[in-house]
Amino acid sequence: MKSDIAALRELIGPHDPAAAVHGDPSVRRATLSTVFAASPGPDGTPPSQLTAVLATRNGPRSPVLARRMLISGLATAAAATVVAVLSSLDRAAPAHAATPAPLAYAGAGGRPVREALLEIAERAARLPDDTGAGRYLYTRTRGWHLGSAVNGRSVRSAVVPVVTERWTAPDAPGRVRTVTSSPEFPSEESLAAWAAEGRPGLRPQVSDETLDLRPRWNPDDLAPDPEALGAALGWGGPPEAGEAELLMTIADLYREQPVRPAVRGAALRLLSGLTGLRYEGTVTDRAGRAGVAVSLDSDHGGLPNRHTLIFDGRTGVLLGEERTLTVTAGELDVPVPSVISYTLFMDAGRSNSPTPR
């Protein structure tokens, strides 16, 4: 005789509203990332040991690179990403490195980049100064680059972004605080490889350093006139490194300090003069913000790559910076195209003390 459960399954089973429901793989991976982010881990386990990630770990670097590393929160800055990755990756490590999904740009429609940037520049220049007052220049960014280190080790299996807060003052020591975000898994292979790699970044790694770090640029020296701004930034036309250097310099400026609306406008005007720059259209960035993107192809950094800057169309503020390999991955074990670094500019302003806003 049929069991009660079998009989009930026969009666009710076919009417299951969720019989055909399966979780979307990307949602499933994103949920896992959320779960890890929501809790440090099993109750009762000791808190993770806070570990400083030191800039000097990988040996000597050029002064500019060292500077950029400090400014970008002890992670390798965009300028040197490709080169640095080549020198820091463990080439014996198996499997493709995990990289974040590319952003979706829309509506470029052949619009001249100059026209798009000048429109934003004009809008920005009319805004009142919103950078605030205080001795310290404060910024908060969220970034990732291929080969990012967690606890001193390069992590390739998952995308582990780092939130960096920086305080710099012309007459006082600076502070750089970094916290690793929860790992993100762009594929099932990434998740499996991450577990095999020892789950780097499962618990937040915090680094908090007081550094003898002064602002690279004095905000008072930054003029609202494009030519004067260019001179203050050290940009007198394409240097040997090419036009990409200006994109990097502007990103470095935003990494370091809040930028007044008038100076934002001037920076956009400077950019609009680049011959290789392209309008990419509108985009929703990795923080869910609407922006306008421009990009430049170059081989700055070692391999052909696309450097993209994303601006807030209403305020002219730089929202994000992305680097994408476009032609070849060289010795990097990633498909082409692949995003190899990004920075989200989340917050900036002045403050009277080097403490979180």
């Binding site: 009989a7 009710i12 969720a18 949920t31 959320t34 890890f36 809790s39 618990r203």
Partner: protein
């Protein structure tokens, strides 16, 4: 729910993490469907996320039979939400949506409607028990674990529910199917 993974003071967070990920992969869809059946598609993903967040926090004390335990966690989360939001059970909406998305097949719709009404006529506890065994794939012991009662009590209730639903659905379907 007896047994369970004995807490090992020397166990690393890594082992617990591997175990948790394996469990997550194995039961994600099951928990998603469990939630979907009770809160509908709009909130199911949130319930899943909260359920596994609790499971991750308690990864060191997961029981041997994990699925009924996960269902219990999800059940509590849903109950808390309902209390907080004073929302009605979403079962009927979820069923109605499924009916709408199916091809317009009169007989199937009739049967589905009959099943909805039959489930609706049950007490909340009985309804949950029927769903646990008919849709969520649990046996009497698993259902007892979720409902917090003995397996013997579940057997008695299942027998009663079988008779009742056979009577209701059998007659309903026969009546509707007649030309």
């Amino acid at each position: 729910m007896t047994g369970g993974i004995p807490p090992d003071p020397a166990a690393t967070g890594g082992e617990q993490c591997d175990h948790f990920i394996a469990m997550y992969s194995r039961y994600y869809d099951e928990v998603l469907r469990y939630a979907w059946r009770r809160v509908g598609p709009d909130y199911a993903a949130e319930v899943v996320s909260e359920t596994f967040t609790v499971a991750w926090r308690r990864a060191g004390e997961l029981p041997e039979h994990e699925l009924p335990w996960l269902y219990t966690v999800a059940r509590n989360i849903i109950a808390n939400r309902r209390r907080a939001e004073e929302r009605q059970e979403h079962l009927l909406t979820a069923l109605a949506e499924t009916v709408r998305t199916e091809p317009d097949h009169a007989d199937a719709v009739t049967r589905r409607q009959a099943a909805v009404e039959a489930l609706q006529s049950l007490s909340p506890d009985d309804r949950e028990l029927v769903r646990l065994v008919a849709w969520d794939g649990l046996d009497a012991r698993g259902a007892a674990a979720v409902l917090g009662c003995s397996a013997a009590a579940v057997h008695v209730r299942l027998h009663r529910l079988r008779k009742r639903l056979s009577r209701t659905l059998g007659s309903s379907i026969r009546t509707e199917a007649r030309p």
